[in-house]
């Protein structure tokens, strides 16, 4: 299969974008670009901007490769993406309110009841719960891709603990240092106010009646793959970074252990999964969480961002219904396209998937980070047979989608700039209003031809320029 490729530079048709792309590629010699690329990598290493890889031989910390040729998005297209993302977030929050409340969408026959009943990410304990101010998804990192036909699709909604925003901010800092002359004269939307907006979002969603809320970032600890980001965000917001054992439930509220005794915490930006939040409610063996935390949350005396239970809305089988969800709650047509999705739990769709395995991408419904994905066209007969077996054993756990061809952006390689596949993860904050950070994290598959952009599997990143 040799799908049509869409190159983000080659297909730039906005005047400003064309100019920027020309400046980038023609303004500097290849030697010069390579020099700047090396400077950027060295800078990241010295700053200790790393992510952790589990089970990696030479030390757990890796510097995440960053490529200095940015992804460029013109103003018109960005306006469409931004509106589309806001629409989606509004609808998904209404969906979460409903699914943990009246379940009108099931009563009206839009969503099959067993889809929710069988979703492992549906938290029974959250039934009847409404988070402070009705905000479920304080921070979202939606994955977008552009297919060969030029259309932008939403690939995943990532409503739980999306990571990557710190790299957006650091990438921008690095770019300003190594390509200052390209920056001057181009009007790139700033991203630097993200920590400020994040802090405001968290303060705005504090429990009612708390005037001057204390915010903390909860991390699983120094060996988590996104630990750098947890530190970075806590530092940028000027709030405490806490581990589970820094917190204790006392007197019906959450408190942190300080050198001067216990201090109340009102808003927790938690970067650990639901499963590990509270061993007395979810996984008993969790060493990372805080016993009793969920009860305080249910009593409305602490805000958890994001809210527990969100996972049901980014379950990959529920994903297939997002266009209907938008229709149902907002009465609007979806602005951003959904990837056509086959739900293996459905008998007919499952048969189609099994008959066309070699042309489809099969994904587990409740995983992220690219784990467990089978790319049909690139798999051996044996792997496909194995995949078919897994599907038949537990159909609810799988969906399939057509193989999409990610667009490319020129990337520095040993032989000069060459096209590499990219995706895009914009970050959306929801406090009093919904705000979209301009651009987001562009992840790039550094191996030629590869479409796997995950940092754990040979991906890197790029700065993203939304032009004004």
């Amino acid at each position: 299969m040799n799908p049509i490729q869409f190159d983000e530079y080659g297909n730039a048709n906005d005047e400003v974008a064309k100019q920027v792309v020309t400046n980038l590629l023609d303004g500097l010699s290849f030697e010069d670009l390579q020099l700047r690329q090396r400077a950027a990598s060295e800078h990241l290493r010295m700053l200790g901007i790393t992510f952790n890889v589990y089970g990696h031989g030479d030390g757990v910390e890796k510097v995440w490769p960053m490529d200095i040729l940015p992804r460029v998005i013109d103003a018109g297209e960005w306006a469409m993406i931004e509106t589309g993302l806001k629409q989606r977030i509004r609808a998904l929050n209404l969906f979460l309110d409903d699914i943990y409340g009246e379940q009108q969408i099931i009563a009206d026959g839009i969503l099959p009841a067993d889809l929710i009943e069988t979703a492992t990410s549906f938290r029974e304990v959250c039934r009847g719960q409404r988070p402070p101010h009705g905000v479920w998804t304080h921070i979202t990192g939606t994955d977008l891709i552009r297919h060969g036909d030029g259309t932008i699709y939403v690939l995943e909604d990532n409503l739980r603990c999306p990571s990557g925003v710190s790299y957006v901010l650091e990438n921008r800092e690095v770019m300003k240092r190594v390509l200052p002359e390209v920056f001057s004269g181009v009007r790139v939307s700033p991203v630097e106010d993200y920590p400020e907006l994040l802090l405001k979002t968290l303060i705005e969603t504090a429990p009612d009646g708390v005037d001057n809320p204390t915010v903390a970032v909860l991390t699983p600890g120094v060996y988590n793959s996104a630990y750098f980001e947890h530190c970075f965000l806590a530092q940028q917001m000027g709030v405490e970074l806490v581990c589970g054992d820094d917190l204790i439930v006392d007197d019906g509220v959450v408190k942190m252990q300080t050198t001067k005794g216990l201090q109340q915490v009102d808003v927790i930006y938690r970067r650990i999964d639901d499963d590990f939040l509270d061993p007395s409610c979810f996984r008993e063996d969790s060493m990372l969480g805080v016993p009793g935390l969920m009860q305080v949350y249910r009593d409305g005396r602490v805000t958890l961002a994001n809210a527990p239970g969100n996972g049901v809305a980014d379950d990959k089988a529920v994903y297939a219904y997002v266009p209907q969800i938008i229709q149902f709650y907002l009465g609007e047509e979806p602005i951003l396209a959904n990837v056509p999705t086959y739900i293996c739990a459905d008998v007919e769709q499952r048969q189609y998937v099994l008959d066309h395995l070699d042309a489809l991408v099969v994904k587990p419904t409740n995983e992220s980070g690219g784990y467990g994905i089978v790319l049909g066209p690139e798999s051996s007969r044996e792997e496909l047979d194995q995949c078919a077996e897994s599907i038949q054993k537990d159909p609810r756990n799988f969906i399939a989608q057509p193989m999409l061809c990610l667009s490319t952006v020129p990337t520095i390689t040993d032989k000069g700039p060459a096209p590499r596949h990219v995706d895009l993860r914009p970050f959306i904050l929801y406090g009093r209003d919904i705000q979209v950070m301009p651009g987001g994290l562009t992840r790039v598959a550094l191996r030629e031809g590869s479409m796997v952009v995950n940092s754990s599997q040979g991906g890197g990143s790029k700065d993203t320029w939304v032009l004004k």
Binding site: M46, L47, Y227, Q235, D246, T258
Partner: protein, 325 residues
């Protein structure tokens, strides 16, 4: 401030200071044995003895040689007090509280770590000629101290870092004094000779104290050297100075006047400071230098234990490994 953060800041500073002092430690011995001054042969045994890790060393290396001792003290990751282990631990603690450090402090700590980690490719060269590497270690430690003074608000975080550095330094100055105790002179008659003076001045030099000593006392007299390193009020590596500074740091943290104490840590450090204030060097020598130095080390350990209980302990917490004093 979070107890966990305070703990990490304390240990980060402590490990940086420890790495610096191991470097000093190695240098004093090289000075003592180099150059054929007075015909001493290199003695590496005393260094291992004074480091407090003699048992671990003998178990793994046997007879101490220059190479094995240097390797043990610089690169050996199984030796928790080697320069490499200290810098790893300092950075690991720093990484846990990265958000409370100033950006420039973190960057320097990270650079220090990369430098020591990457030095392993030069291992053999460094073991033959360690001077430059050891100097770099000291410089990095000083740079971090400077950055702390220049870029961190002098509040609780700053005081926990100060506390860690000073307690560690007090302990290590006492151990450097011990090196001299353990370094056997060729013959008992040599005590008080030119050779003895050479050794004492090497000792002073390794604590950067020679010039400062000369300004105060002039010629080298063993009692006065001990006086200077133990009791001097103004020299920043003397045991008195470190203990008095640690006492101030503790009281700045709690906000309690030094006329009182609010926890056993303050009580113990106050007692030690008081004793150092009113003891003369004659008393110390009469008691026996080694015995005195030994008791100071025991009491510094006790202070460390009390600090841990007063500030770092968490109710729900089961710390997997406590850091090593």
């Amino acid at each position: 401030m979070l107890s966990r953060v305070a703990e990490s800041l304390f240990w980060m500073s402590r490990y940086v200071e420890r790495a610096e002092n191991v470097a000093r430690f190695v240098e004093v011995n090289r000075d003592l044995s180099l150059g054929g001054l007075g015909g001493t042969v290199a003695q590496w045994g005393p260094l291992v003895k004074a480091s407090g890790d003699e048992e671990a060393f003998l178990e793994r290396y046997g007879e101490p040689t220059e190479r094995s001792v240097l390797d043990f003290l610089i690169f050996d990751e199984q030796n928790l007090n080697s320069i490499r282990s200290c810098v790893n631990a300092a950075r690991e603690n720093g990484r846990m509280v990265r958000e409370t450090l100033s950006a420039s402090m973190w960057e320097e700590l990270n650079r220090f770590y990369l430098q020591v980690r990457d030095a392993i490719v030069d291992r053999e060269r460094i073991l033959r000629r360690p001077h430059r590497f050891l100097n770099d270690v000291k410089s990095s430690s000083h740079l971090l101290l400077g950055l702390k003074h220049a870029t961190v608000s002098q509040g609780e975080a700053w005081n926990f870092m100060r506390l860690g550095s000073l307690l560690e330094r007090a302990d290590k100055t006492s151990r450097i004094l011990d090196v001299k105790y353990y370094t056997l002179l060729p013959k008992p008659d040599d005590v008080g000779t030119h050779l003895d003076a050479v050794q004492w001045s090497a000792l002073l030099n390794s604590t950067s104290a020679l010039a400062m000593y000369r300004r105060r006392f002039g010629t080298i007299v063993p009692e006065q050297v001990a006086d200077f390193l133990i009791l001097d009020r103004a020299f920043p590596r003397s045991i008195y100075y470190c203990v008095a500074g640690a006492e101030r740091a503790l009281h700045d943290i709690t906000g309690v006047s030094t006329d009182y104490f609010s926890n056993p840590a303050e009580q113990h450090v106050g007692k030690l400071r008081y004793e150092l204030t009113f003891r003369g060097i004659e008393d110390i020598i009469a008691e026996g230098m080694h015995e005195f130095v030994d008791s100071v080390q025991v009491r510094l350990n006790q202070i460390g234990v009390e600090i841990d209980k007063a500030f770092f302990a968490r109710p729900t917490h089961s710390r997997v490994q406590s850091q090593t004093q």
